[in-house]
């Protein structure tokens, strides 16, 4: 319930934050720190060596380079999707929570979006569109905002029913004044937690689309890399899988883990009832 919640993340949150900042750093500086250009080709399936620290994959891409550029895709998808869906979700929650008359309608719309199983649906859409990542971002946001709205709405309602809000309305404060000055700051930490969680979901969903090979084939994402690797069953006959499959899976896992850590940490801080859960 307090902005301070953000300034003292617990140990889980701090670990998560460090990892995610690391991945963001890699993504942003990809052209500088990657050893090769992502399009340059070498001998396929070369084991790790001093020239290719993580070896090369089935078509001869340098795995480390692909991994670094993959961070870019994941971070972009995660960040953009989280931004769009948190914005729309938060706005919806504020309106539904503060305008009682609109709440029933908005709740029905939210129900509609929430019953759609997100990843299967996105996979189906992608199968028809073979989307580039901007379409992926839009589709993910389209299905993502409702959950944010659903999570934040009860808090908005709770704050809106507080005595000080009643007092301010009584002495002449308008609804939007109250929303902007009082409700929004109160929901801010929860919105941040939701933002991080949503980012993680989006990264996973994007990886799934890539994993099924449904993305624009020129996309250099971790999901696509896993997909390419899995198409060559030969990698399991030797230890090739350890360098073509292991690194992208590992990166994906630690990224998701870090977003989960951060959001759990934030949520337990905001919502004291969750504190009993021993994570």
């Amino acid at each position: 319930m307090d902005v301070k919640a953000l300034s003292f993340l617990g140990i889980k949150g701090k670990i998560g934050l460090i990892i995610i900042l690391f991945v963001v750093f890699i993504g942003i500086t990809a052209p500088v720190i990657s050893p090769y250009d992502p399009t340059s080709l070498f001998e396929p399936f070369e084991p790790p060596s001093s020239t290719h620290l993580l070896g090369t994959d089935d078509v001869g891409h340098d795995v480390l380079t692909i991994l670094i550029y993959g961070a870019r895709v994941s971070i972009l998808v995660g960040f953009a999707t989280a931004t769009i869906s948190t914005f729309i979700g938060l706005l919806t929650a504020l309106i539904a929570g503060c305008y009682e008359g609109l709440d029933p309608i908005i709740s029905r719309i939210l129900d509609f979006f929430l019953v759609i199983p997100r990843i299967p649906f996105i996979v189906i859409i992608s199968a028809f569109l073979t989307p580039n990542i901007f379409i992926v971002i839009l589709v993910l946001s389209f299905f993502g905002w409702a959950k944010t709205a659903r999570v934040i709405k009860p808090l908005v309602k709770q704050v809106y029913s507080r005595e000080y809000v009643k007092r301010l309305k009584c002495i002449g404060a308008g609804n939007w004044y109250i929303i902007l000055r009082h409700i929004l700051p109160a929901t801010f930490p929860l919105a941040v937690a939701q933002f991080v969680l949503e980012g993680g979901h989006a990264i996973l969903a994007e990886a799934s689309i890539g994993f099924f090979g449904l993305e624009d084939p020129s996309t250099l994402s971790w999901g696509m890399e896993i997909n390419h690797a899995l198409q060559k069953s030969i990698i399991f006959l030797t230890n090739i899988w350890t360098w073509v499959l292991g690194p992208p899976i590992l990166m994906l896992t630690i990224t998701l883990l870090s977003t989960t850590f951060i959001s759990i940490d934030l949520e337990t801080r905001i919502n004291p009832r969750l504190k009993v859960r021993s994570w």
Binding site: R162, E163, Y164, K166, I171, G172, A173, H182
Partner: protein
């Protein structure tokens, strides 16, 4: 600031106010929190509301401020109907202020006391510059004897008495004409209670505010020296000037509150009864009390009572 000249027309007028709370669809028995209450407050006149817990004092106070919409009835504030909140002009709102029952709930916990006190001024854009604002806030803090060094703290970082003073300061910021003060002392120790009561009384006398003072304790209500209305199960059952009410209370319920008569102990009583709301506990009940509800009537000298014995 717009002031009103007429002293004859009521500033606040509650006409036939009834508020019924309903719970759920099937199980809930509706609660008549306020029933058929008529209240007139002239400009500058004050009133104390007293009565047992759950008698509807807070609900009535909130209805008179337009915070709760009554199930039926009307509230006129200087002639403007508050039951239609969209039609209430903002300048009317500036003339009201509200001190909620729980002072620590009256402020945004994220804001410093300073900003919380200044907020009504900011909402109505009554101050030009930061310096002017600071001057006014410090003046207000001084008026309510709040140590100005506390202004930088947040509501949960000060004591109950200090926050109560801050809330009063904030309530005074816009120079209101009408102020509802709900149990301002219920959370405080005796000596702080007396300080706050004296402060409110001084303010009222100095600024000539119409104060609706709510307290479950009839002694505290009488300390304020206003006319007193005694509430029971949502009804006003007796109303008179303080001396009259304390010295010759007529309603057995009021006598019970004052400790003059012994009250029958009843472990539970009907929420909504047909007859007199005090029937279950009344030591002097008569036959008609069970079937019919007595109306509030003037028994002479502006002393109103709802009891068949008068």
């Amino acid at each position: 600031m717009m002031r009103f000249n007429s002293l004859k027309t009521p500033l606040v007028q509650g006409i036939n106010l009834t508020k019924i709370f309903r719970y759920g669809l099937i199980w809930g028995e509706p609660v008549e929190a306020v029933k058929n209450v008529n209240i007139n407050l002239l400009r500058g006149a004050s009133l104390s509301l007293t009565g047992e817990s759950g008698s509807g004092k807070t609900t009535l106070g909130k209805i008179l401020l337009g915070i709760i919409r009554p199930t039926s009835g009307k509230v006129l504030f200087n002639g403007i109907d508050l039951t239609n909140p969209k039609r209430v002009p903002k300048y009317i709102r500036r003339m009201m202020s509200y001190i909620p029952q729980h002072p620590e709930e009256a402020f945004d916990p994220r804001w410093r006391l300073y900003d919380n006190i200044a907020e009504p001024l900011r909402i109505h854009k009554l101050i030009g510059s930061k310096e002017e604002e600071k001057e006014i806030i410090f003046k207000l803090a001084e008026d309510v004897s709040l140590d100005t060094s506390l202004l930088n703290r947040r509501p949960f970082e000060v004591s109950g008495g200090e926050i109560q003073r801050a809330v009063i300061a904030s309530a005074l910021a816009t120079n209101p004409l009408f102020m509802v003060c709900d149990e301002p002392t219920s959370m405080l120790d005796i000596s702080t209670q007396a300080d706050i009561l004296r402060l409110l009384k001084n303010i009222r006398d100095k600024l000539n505010i119409s104060l609706l003072f709510i307290s479950h304790d009839i002694e505290i209500a009488s300390f304020m020296g206003f006319k007193i209305a005694v509430m029971l199960k949502g009804r006003i059952v007796e109303m008179a000037d303080v001396d009259k009410l304390i010295n010759e209370p007529l309603h057995p319920y009021t006598q019970g509150l004052l400790g003059i008569v012994k009250v029958e102990y009843v472990s539970s009583y009907a929420k909504n009864c047909r007859g007199c709301p005090y029937y279950d506990r009344c030591p002097v009940k008569m036959l008609p009390c069970r079937e019919k509800e007595p109306k509030l009537k003037n028994v002479g000298g502006d002393h109103y009572v709802a009891c068949f014995r008068y």
